[in-house]
């Protein structure tokens, strides 16, 4: 019942048709990207969104702006320069010690305040843990629509934002509008949009925004931050190469073969959901609908059948190689390359052959 995924919306609903925009929304102009900064660095999804936002702004004939929130004015200045070079005309900077770490409470308040002050027509965020957390609260506070995890953004003939997103676990796509409310909000997952060309030396306007927050009033405190680089948590979503195994491997001992190939390739490893249930891998290595979405350049799937819930997590891979004993396994319907073979014997041979080949290439170069 909930969520924006009704196949056939009933006609005549209130919000269903575009009306003359209420007077108080008419001032809303420009396309904005709320930039994601965690531990001093800008998430690449924000630059991807600036690239996409640039196209929307040009189509609407308006400005593209970025919003930066943080506690280090110098770092924010550097980030602002990056935003200009990736296409922003204007950057709003909110600098305050209370914005050192991301917290829902502080960021929601500051972003809502900036939006209410400068009134963008379109507001985009990354569909990351941070972006979805923030977007959900900001949209509710502003009582406006929000389309999650969009895969395509466009401006329709009326000038409205058309956001397309997958629904029902990827089996359908739907195009969603927010016609009578402002801003029109959407989130987009990392690496769905292309990284824009960087234009060195491009510059723009900076608007300083004084946040109305006091650390002592903020009830949620960040006690610690355990960086993934200091733990063995898998960085699957960002890995360039991923090797994964499924139930077809037969045993946890055989799953080692996946890890060995991954080690030779300098890749991350993962698996299908049943492996988490069997304790062969930890849940942060599960790939798929209820696990991680990955977008590697190369994905090797060994002994995985390719159920729809697995498929939606790997479809963004540039090249999928499937190894399966069953020539009719569904994975061969969406893999680019396939081989009907026993993964338990092929994996070690692959590991050896890759090691040889890559070492030979190194010696030759």
């Amino acid at each position: 019942m909930a969520d924006a995924a009704k196949p056939a919306p009933a006609k005549g609903g209130r919000a269903n048709t575009k009306k003359e925009l209420p007077e108080h929304f008419k001032a809303y102009k420009h396309v904005w990207v709320a930039v994601e900064i965690e531990h001093g660095s800008v998430h690449s999804v924000s630059f991807e969104l600036l690239g996409e936002g640039r196209k929307l702004a040009d189509k609407r004939g308006v400005e593209l702006a970025a919003v930066l929130m943080g506690d280090d004015r110098e770092a924010l200045g550097q980030a602002a320069q990056d935003c200009f070079e990736y296409g922003a005309d204007c950057v709003y900077i909110a600098c305050d010690p209370a914005l050192k770490h991301y917290r829902n409470e502080t960021s929601t308040q500051v972003l809502t305040d900036i939006v209410n002050t400068y009134q963008p027509e379109i507001l985009l965020l990354g569909a990351t843990n941070l972006g979805r957390d923030l977007a959900g609260s900001v949209a509710t506070t502003l009582k406006t629509g929000l389309t999650a995890d969009s895969t395509e953004l466009a401006i329709d003939e009326d000038g409205s934002l058309a956001a397309t997103r997958p629904t029902f676990g990827g089996s359908l796509l739907c195009t969603i509008f927010t016609l009578n409310f402002r801003p029109q909000m959407a989130t987009v997952r990392p690496r769905v949009m292309a990284m824009p060309e960087r234009e060195e030396g491009r510059s723009g306007r900076i608007v300083e925004f004084a946040p109305n927050i006091v650390e002592d009033d903020v009830v949620t405190k960040v006690l610690d931050f355990i960086d993934d680089r200091d733990s063995d948590t898998a960085a699957l979503p960002y890995a360039d190469v991923v090797v994964a195994g499924g139930l077809g491997l037969g045993s946890v001992e055989n799953f080692q073969l996946v890890k060995e190939l991954a080690a030779v390739l300098g890749a991350e490893y993962g698996g299908s959901r049943p492996l988490v249930q069997k304790d062969w891998i930890t849940s942060d290595r599960q790939i798929g609908q209820t696990g991680k979405t990955i977008r590697p350049r190369l994905y090797i799937a060994a002994g995985i059948s390719g159920a729809i819930q697995h498929r939606v997590g790997v479809e963004g891979a540039d090249l999928i190689l499937a190894i399966n004993t069953d020539p009719n396994a569904p994975i061969f319907e969406f893999a680019h390359l396939g081989i009907v073979a026993d993964a338990v014997t092929l994996l070690p041979a692959l590991t050896q052959a890759f090691a040889r080949r890559l070492r030979v290439t190194r010696m030759a170069s």
């Binding site: 509710t140 195009t175 509008f177 927010t178 949620t220 300098g266």
Partner: protein, 285 residues
């Protein structure tokens, strides 16, 4: 302590079929399940109940048939089940859904005591938006803790809670004041099954059923399609990939097959070889 867990009944996405002509979801005969992330939330609530003693209320908005999911929650160990159902809720997007659920939560607070913790799953598997939890928290002005992988400590006396939250590049350890809304990430531990006695009791238990006016919703334009700022204009099936996988038909030894596989990979994606060489160097010097 009073804990409320929001659960949604969703179609089992493994069984979903799309009508080839109309491009609509064919729900007929598709089995429904409790949204898997909501089960993680329920399990976490039941663990807190085991440790600290608590009353757990399961809340579900949905059609009358969603009472099945609530009964299942009772079987697992929830103490009370509330179904929020009304035809005016049909077509609700996340903003309208969070409105209806927040009204039900307020009513639950009045009737059964204000909850210290409201749990939801991190997202549903049919809508996938992850917006309803933050929406409820914003409406009820609860501290919001999303993507929680672990509850580190709960100090009821001091009204404080400490959690681990998955951020994009690491894990945040956060402390905040109760009451809170927590959205749960996948857990490693299995969901409990519930005893036969619990199942028998759940079969007989009353499901408290409320409609819009029961929870004090007077302005029905805030519900359902009319209360939803987002409008679904078009639904369509993704274009199927035209070609199936290119099959590598290698003969001979496993080594020969392995070499054929590698050749095929590098023929399709020559750039990958340079990347791999660089990465392999990194690991093998």
């Amino acid at each position: 302590m009073h804990i409320v867990v929001c659960i949604k009944q969703v179609p089992d996405s493994a069984q979903i079929r799309v009508h080839p002509v109309t491009n609509t979801i064919m729900r007929q005969g598709v089995p429904t399940i409790i949204n898997p992330y909501d089960l993680f939330a329920l399990e976490e609530a039941l663990r807190l109940k085991d440790r600290l003693g608590a009353t757990v209320t399961a809340l579900c908005m949905g059609p009358p048939t969603a009472s099945e999911s609530l009964r299942k929650a009772l079987t697992f160990g929830a103490d009370r089940a509330v179904l929020l159902t009304d035809r005016y809720f049909a077509g609700s997007d996340t903003l309208a859904t969070s409105y209806a659920l927040s009204m039900a939560l307020t009513k639950i607070g009045e009737e059964f005591g204000t909850p210290e913790i409201v749990f939801t799953g991190k997202q549903t598997i049919d809508g996938d938006t992850a917006q309803v939890g933050p929406g409820i928290a914003s409406r009820l002005k609860l501290n919001q803790l999303t993507y929680i992988s672990k509850i580190v400590a709960t100090d009821l006396e001091a009204g404080r809670i400490t959690v681990e939250r998955r951020a994009e590049t690491g894990t945040q350890v956060l402390a905040t004041r109760l009451p809170v809304l927590i959205t749960m990430l996948e857990a490693t531990n299995e969901m409990r099954r519930g005893t036969i006695a619990q199942a028998l009791e759940a079969a007989r238990a009353e499901i408290i059923t409320w409609n819009a006016s029961d929870v004090g919703i007077e302005d029905l334009t805030r519900c359902g399609l009319r209360g939803s700022p987002t409008i679904v204009k078009k639904v369509f099936a993704p274009t199927a990939r035209s070609e199936a996988a290119e099959m590598i038909a290698a003969e001979g030894t496993m080594d020969a097959k392995a070499r054929a596989v590698i050749d095929a990979i590098f023929a399709r994606a020559p750039g990958v070889e340079d990347d791999l060489t660089a990465q392999a160097l990194h690991h093998y010097v």
